[in-house]
């Protein structure tokens, strides 16, 4: 069936900001879909509020709306664009939910927009627990015993019937938000209530727990002719009970016989047919009783998912791209397999390697969060590794995680009880406890009993541990085949990593690169998508060469390597590895842009990265893709093979930047700003010299290795001080300290300062305005990309702060000063490429806080705000092009206003305080764009999920030092907008003194009824609550945390509150309008 001709314009909804459970995999799938549909001649209308996505690049769609992904805004866009069809299955759960709302509100019918791929009925059948259960029973598939509840009474009844432990799953949420496992009645009370609250339709499924069963997933695709194929099977290392996003997962399934696998395949096919997903991909999860093979269906996602992105990268089969083409009428057999070119997409990929995905967590950022892994997802990113064996892939995966581990290693523990508790209770470090337990001689049976992790996986771990003890200079090939890194080997041999590398090379123990080809070498593959492995050599009798090392003495020994070399000039781009807080999609965006830009110049591009969620690891993005950990060893190995003409390290975030010096030392040519200049900016001492040389001002400070030293510095510069470990990312462990006592605590307990790990102590400039500048230079021309003013005062990490471009309160002279300083720095550092500078402005003094001679988190935002692809330009200047020739020499000051707002993961960590500080906590960002600040700010809040109210009640409670005129002004404005104001005693008195009438309510600690009750009852519509000090009072945390749980917008800073009210004002004045990005930059 050829492509449909009755539709011309297709609307694609993106997934919005990166949050836990919904990361850049949906940029990957959305970008593929946009490309695929445009290629077919369709007009594509795209909506996504996340500016750090490739899909929102203006050339990806015909009309790109960087607007909040809400039904109200979508209706406006539909009204304006009148698309023929909506493709709801590529924008994650957000896209799916909004599509459903559009359908249910009759908007799609009103404007005659048809859903393609999956329609409303199918989506409902898959998402609605009741309908899903009925559908599965109809086709004879088992589900865990379960019942639905719509209130607490029903919940108790169902739970009693099933018996504990039970799983609570709210309907219509993503990443298991609001779900949990209740072992007792008391836990049921808490979890069921939370679940009811987080479900869009206040519905929870209470389900028999199949904890400890084996968990599997199948990725399935279906076309209009009802052809169904399974793309990939995935077996979870962590058994049932841990969300699959938090599990280590392995592809393909390892411990199923063909009979069992085919039974599962039949079930998956029956499932997609019964649910009625007409075309596209779905993901179906199964649990299997390890004792008798009883199989139950857990759930089905009627859309592309995180797992389908993983499956695409694991097999080379581009699920999202094919899904888009199937949605417009093609059938699988009409589409080619890109990799083999000669065979069609109607097949099932078969692989000849093992893929391991390991999640990346961020519990260090949320010390108060419960680190136990359960059915609600908590990880913030993931890394994937490919090896010829599970052992090799697992070790590569661990070192690709960038958690300072070189492979499968152990962890310190106090006693057996602690060890066993951590084996039994799933947690982010369980893998390392397993190492320690194996080292301590725990048997497989005992470990199985504790963890329920399949013995096959445990046996493989055991083999790694056992071999490690035997590593010697004589068995390096074996060690490498088991995935040991040079660093691990060096540790055993008690030498430096360098020496191991040398030894290996001397013995000719080098990696070979094999192709991911969808077909296990049955056909020739054309797409250069590689992974490394260490293979056993083979030989041909009779052929000899001087390098012969064959043990038998006859013939030449060879290992097979599939890298195809061209004579072209080539540039290698190092990616950022797994997403984490502080290093996310923004950097991948920059790497992808570099690749596109260099391709435009006719250069060959080589991408190295290990993050399966990204566009950079799409085999379509670069000329060559190496799916490898971004470590010095792995990168040098690829460089040995490819001998690139230059390597770009400044676009992938801190990960590649940290490799710069090591690469340079090994003779690698780093293009762009030199590693020495990078070091001058990063090394504290050298940076101070730089600032002094240029006559700029830095907040006073010093470096301390003891508490006393730190106190001396603090005494000299005066409190408050900003303390942090040197060389940190994302403000890791950064804090503002107000007195000696807190300083002692910080240095003694939080960071353990030592001569190797000094602590930086800087004067904290209070109530300053912070400014971020992104600029680009080619060595001759220096040009500002954008100046961003933070909305929150200095002290909030720039990754968490809301920002506005162009600045809205700074004077022209201050801005000019900032420009001047920026140019001075760039000139001195001889920047070639991008540079980001952070300033604090107080009383027109401009302090330099930080210089990063690399791409920053704000580059994509700035690029979209000014309509110039900065990262692309940067890549081009790094290879010698001049800005003059590229046509970018003058700062662009847009007429519109752009607001960047951060999105925080607190909903996943109940009970954790949500206030912002110098340590970055946000997972993603959104952009609000409009002609004036109020409306742009409004849009940014809406996009970030904060529903600014236009009427109702506002709760205001601020700390004493905040009881200033600005609070009174804010309250006055709210009053004039007809809001009611509630306050606690102190704030109420202050406002009353300023002639503002408010209602006083008692403190939470004084008993009910209090604010918490009001929040629960939905009677509070906005909360303005500034924290009362470093150690906030318990009731404040409770207020903010329950506001998050109940979806009430909370503002924790005064400037934030002020911006909020400006936004509300704009909202009251008139409705928000939409406009595509292409029109802003006409």
């Amino acid at each position: 069936m050829p492509k449909r001709t009755d539709i011309h314009k297709i609307l694609i909804i993106g997934s919005g900001p990166i949050i836990i459970g919904q990361a850049c995999e949906f940029d990957y799938s959305g970008t593929q879909a946009c490309k695929a549909l445009k290629e077919e001649g369709f007009k594509v209308i795209l909506v996504n509020s996340n500016p750090a996505t490739i899909m929102t690049d203006p050339e990806m769609a015909d009309r790109t709306y960087i607007e909040p992904v809400t039904p109200e805004m979508l209706e406006k866009i539909i009204k304006r664009e009148r698309p023929d069809a909506l493709l709801p299955t590529l924008g994650g759960q957000t896209g799916l939910n909004v599509s459903m709302q559009l359908a249910e509100r009759g908007i799609l019918d009103k404007y005659k927009v048809q859903m393609i791929g999956a329609d409303r009925r199918a989506i409902k059948k898959a998402e609605d627990r009741k309908l899903f259960k009925k559908a599965m029973q109809k086709i004879g598939l088992d589900l865990p015993e379960s019942g639905l509840a719509y209130n607490m009474n029903e919940a108790r009844k169902v739970a009693n019937k099933i018996g504990f432990p039970i799983i609570i799953r709210p309907s219509f949420t993503l990443g298991g938000t609001g779900g949990g496992t209740a072992y007792t009645r008391e836990e049921l009370e808490v979890l069921a209530l939370r679940g009811l609250n987080s479900s869009m339709i206040s519905e929870i499924l209470i389900e028999e727990s199949v904890i400890g069963w084996k968990e599997y997933e199948l990725e399935v695709m279906r076309d209009k002719k009802d052809n169904v194929v399974v793309i990939c099977s995935i077996e979870n290392f962590d058994p049932m009970g841990v969300h699959t996003g938090d599990s280590i997962t392995v592809a393909p399934a390892q411990t199923l016989t063909d009979r069992e696998y085919q039974k599962m395949r039949d079930a998956a096919i029956a499932c997609i047919r019964e649910i009625g997903v007409e075309t596209g991909g779905s993901n179906i999860q199964f649990a299997l009783n390890p004792d008798n093979g009883q199989m139950v269906v857990i759930e089905m996602n009627p859309r592309v998912s995180r797992s389908s992105a993983l499956a695409s990268k694991a097999t080379g089969f581009p699920i999202a791209k094919i899904a888009a083409k199937l949605a417009v009428g093609y059938t699988l057999d009409e589409l080619p397999n890109d990799i083999t070119k000669v065979t069609p997409a109607s097949f099932e990929p078969t692989i000849d390697y093992c893929v391991v995905k390991i999640p990346r967590f961020a519990f260090e950022k949320f010390p108060a969060a419960d680190p136990t892994l359960g059915i609600q997802m908590k990880s913030v990113g993931e890394t994937m590794a490919i090896g010829r064996t599970f052992k090799e892939a697992l070790q590569k995966g661990v070192r690709g995680l960038e958690i300072k581990r070189n492979g499968f290693e152990g962890i310190k523990y106090k006693d057996k009880a602690e060890l066993e508790a951590n084996l039994k209770r799933p947690n982010s470090e369980r893998l390392f406890y397993l190492y320690s337990a194996l080292k301590d001689g725990y048997s497989l049976d005992k470990l199985y009993e504790l963890t329920k992790i399949d013995r096959w996986f445990l046996q493989n771990l055991k083999e790694i541990v056992e071999f490690e003890a035997k590593i010697s200079e004589d068995n390096l090939l074996c060690a490498k085949q088991l995935g040991f890194s040079d660093r691990q080997i060096a540790k055993v041999l008690n030498c430096e990593e360098d020496r191991v590398r040398g030894l290996r090379k001397k013995q000719n123990v080098k990696p070979v690169y094999k192709l991911v080809d969808t077909c296990a070498a049955e056909f020739e593959a054309f797409t250069p998508y590689y992974y490394s492995t260490y293979e056993t050599p083979f030989k041909k009798i009779g052929e000899t060469s001087p390098t012969s090392v064959w043990r038998g003495g006859q013939g030449t020994e060879n290992t097979e390597d599939e890298v195809r070399k061209t004579g072209k000039k080539k540039i290698m781009i190092l990616g950022g590895g797994p997403n984490r807080i502080g290093q996310g999609i923004e950097f991948d965006y920059c790497c992808v842009h570099a690749s596109f830009a260099l391709k435009e110049l006719g250069l060959e591009t080589i991408m190295v990265n290990s993050n399966p969620e990204t566009v950079s690891t799409d085999y379509d993005t670069s000329d060559k893709l190496y799916f490898e950990p971004v470590t010095l060893e792995d990168v040098l190995n690829i460089i040995d093979k490819e001998k690139p003409d230059g390597v770009i390290v400044q676009l992938g975030g801190q990960t590649p930047l940290n490799l710069a010096l090591g690469l340079e030392k090994s003779g690698v040519k780093i293009v762009g700003t030199t590693p020495d200049a990078i070091d001058r900016a990063e090394d504290r001492k050298r940076f101070a010299e730089l600032v002094e040389k240029l006559g700029l001002i830095q907040p006073p400070g010093g470096t301390a290795v003891t508490v006393e030293e730190a106190k001396r510095i603090a005494a000299k510069i005066g409190y408050p001080v900003l303390v942090r470990p040197s060389y940190v990312l994302g403000g890791r462990a950064m804090e503002i300290v107000y007195d000696d006592k807190s300083l002692e605590y910080y240095i003694g307990n939080a960071v353990w300062a030592s001569p190797e790990r000094p602590v930086l102590v800087d004067k904290f400039i209070e109530e300053a305005v912070e400014v971020d500048v992104d600029m680009i230079a080619d060595g001759e021309t220096f040009c500002i990309g954008g100046i961003l003013e933070h909305i929150e005062e200095a002290g909030v990490h720039s990754g968490d702060a809301a920002m506005v471009l162009p600045p809205h309160t700074l004077s022209e002279s201050t801005i000019n000063k900032i420009r001047h300083y920026t140019f001075c720095l760039a000139r001195e550092l001889k920047v070639v490429g991008l540079m980001n500078v952070q300033y604090a402005v107080k009383n027109s003094t401009v302090y330099i806080l930080e210089v990063n001679p690399r791409a920053s988190r704000t580059v994509p935002f700035v690029s979209k705000a000014i309509g110039v692809p900065l990262a692309k330009l940067a890549a081009k200047v790094m290879v010698g092009k001049k800005l003059k020739d590229l046509g970018f020499t003058k700062e662009i000051i847009p007429k519109h206003i752009c607001v960047k707002e951060s999105v925080l993961p607190f909903i996943k960590f109940p009970g954790v305080d949500i206030t912002l500080g110098p340590e970055m906590k946000s997972t993603g960002e959104v952009m609000g764009i409009d002609s004036e600040f109020g409306r742009a700010y409004c849009k940014s809040q809406l996009a970030a999920g904060q529903n600014l109210p236009v009427k109702g009640t506002v709760f205001i409670s601020v700390k004493d030092s905040d009881k200033k005129p600005i609070v009174a002004e804010t309250a006055k404005k709210l009053k004039s907008l007809n809001f009611k104001i509630f306050s606690t005693v102190g704030t109420a008195k202050f406002l009353a003194d300023n002639k503002i009438k408010v209602r006083t309510i008692q403190r939470v600690s004084d008993g009910s009824p209090n604010l918490l009750d009001l929040i629960r009852e939905g009677k509070i519509h906005l909360i303005i609550n500034t924290p009362s000090g470093k150690i906030p009072r318990q009731d404040e945390i409770k207020i903010r945390s329950s506001a998050v749980a109940f979806g009430v917008p909370v503002v924790t800073t005064l400037p934030g509150a002020n911006a909020c009210v400006t936004g509300i004002e704009a909202l009251v004045k008139g409705k928000l309008e939409v406009k595509p990005i292409q029109e802003y930059h006409k």
Binding site: T257, D258, R259, F347, E348, P349, T350, T389, R455, A520
Partner: protein
């Protein structure tokens, strides 16, 4: 750990570690791309005379169980894997793959670069080889390989067919069981064909490949199934003769070698594929409906359907990988056959409906009589 080597007739040598039985094993080296199903592959009589390389590198993970067998014992010559699992983990498993192969005296080798070997076979074509854990003299081994019996022109069916006829009474019986009497001409039949026939309502009697058409017709069956089997179809002249004498007299269903037998019996030709089809993911298009089935495949030869002189023979299926013929049918003669394996074992169940189609033809034929 004992040393073992794999030597191909072109002089390529892979050094690895032996498992299963020791000794020397000769055969045509082929690769199979199925991720699961090694036990079925090992017990599939069609692999008689072949050394099978699994392209999936991790083999033996789920051990060997009592049920997933396709014949009474392994028939292949040797087995090549990248990494053999030291333990098994599956609730049905009763022994390790290593133990199983030892028991049946099958030579295995592990630890070699199976992807390099597969690519070599893809580029150079399937070729003769030896796994040896005794003789390590390479020149001598190459010579022995060259002298060992090759597949073309050799009748391997006689080595795998049953000696005595038997009734199939195992597995997958339904309430329908016994509605049709089917004779299975055993050229090396896989149990899953018998299981599927039983499930489709057939009473199954398996007879030796040397059984003549007259002997079969004397049993008054409702239909005959020409089974899969090893080797070069052209060498199995007695089955071709039997097929020729059955055509038109009774509904016939041919699978794999059985399909080739029909093709030859209808006057067509067969030819050898460069490296054959061995795997569980081949897309086959039904030329009538346009729908695609993912199929299990295991054949080195193919029927050249246009070479069949009869005009009423139609090509029913085509392989979308290489456009080779995957099936033929003649309504008038009440026969149809497929090159692939609708019985799966291992592989997807997409084409299981063909057994139902066979009973439909038998039903209609009975009504006409």
């Amino acid at each position: 750990m004992k040393r073992a080597i794999l030597v191909l007739e072109d002089g390529t040598v892979f050094e690895g570690i032996g498992f299963g039985a020791g000794g020397e094993a000769f055969g045509e080296v082929v690769f199979n791309t199925s991720i699961t199903g090694y036990q079925e592959i090992i017990t599939d009589p069609s692999y008689c005379g072949q050394i099978v390389t699994m392209t999936y590198p991790l083999i033996g993970n789920y051990g060997v169980n009592e049920e997933d067998i396709e014949s009474a014992r392994p028939f292949l010559s040797g087995f090549v894997v990248k990494e053999l699992s030291a333990i098994y983990s599956n609730w049905r498993a009763t022994q390790t793959l290593d133990e199983y192969l030892k028991k049946y005296n099958i030579v295995g080798i592990q630890g070699i670069d199976t992807r390099a070997l597969t690519r070599h076979l893809r580029l150079q074509g399937a070729m003769q080889g030896v796994i040896s854990s005794e003789d390590f003299n390479l020149e001598a081994l190459v010579k022995k390989v060259k002298e060992s019996p090759h597949l073309v022109g050799v009748d391997l069916v006689k080595d795998v067919t049953c000696k005595e006829p038997y009734d199939w009474d195992g597995g997958l019986r339904t309430t329908d069981y016994g509605r049709y009497n089917v004779i299975v001409l055993d050229c090396g039949v896989k149990y899953n064909i018998l299981r599927n026939l039983a499930k489709a309502g057939c009473k199954v009697r398996v007879v030796s490949a040397t059984t003549t058409a007259e002997e079969i017709l004397k049993l008054k069956p409702d239909g005959v199934l020409l089974s899969n089997g090893p080797g070069d179809p052209a060498a199995v002249t007695y089955v071709i003769k039997t097929a020729t004498n059955l055509i038109g007299k009774i509904p016939i269903f041919g699978i794999c070698l059985g399909h080739q037998m029909l093709g030859l019996a209808l006057g067509g030709k067969t030819f050898k594929l460069k490296f054959g089809h061995h795997g569980g993911n081949h897309p086959v298009k039904d030329l009538k409906t346009g729908r695609v089935a993912i199929t299990s495949q295991n054949h080195g030869f193919n029927v050249d359907i246009p070479s069949i002189p009869r005009k009423d023979i139609i090509m029913t299926y085509v392989n979308l990988y290489d456009n080779t013929a995957e099936g033929l049918e003649c309504k008038k003669l009440k026969l149809f056959s497929v090159q692939y394996h609708p019985e799966a074992g291992p592989g997807p169940h997409d084409a299981e409906y063909l057994f139902g189609k066979f009973t439909e033809i038998m039903k209609k034929n009975a009504q006409k009589d």
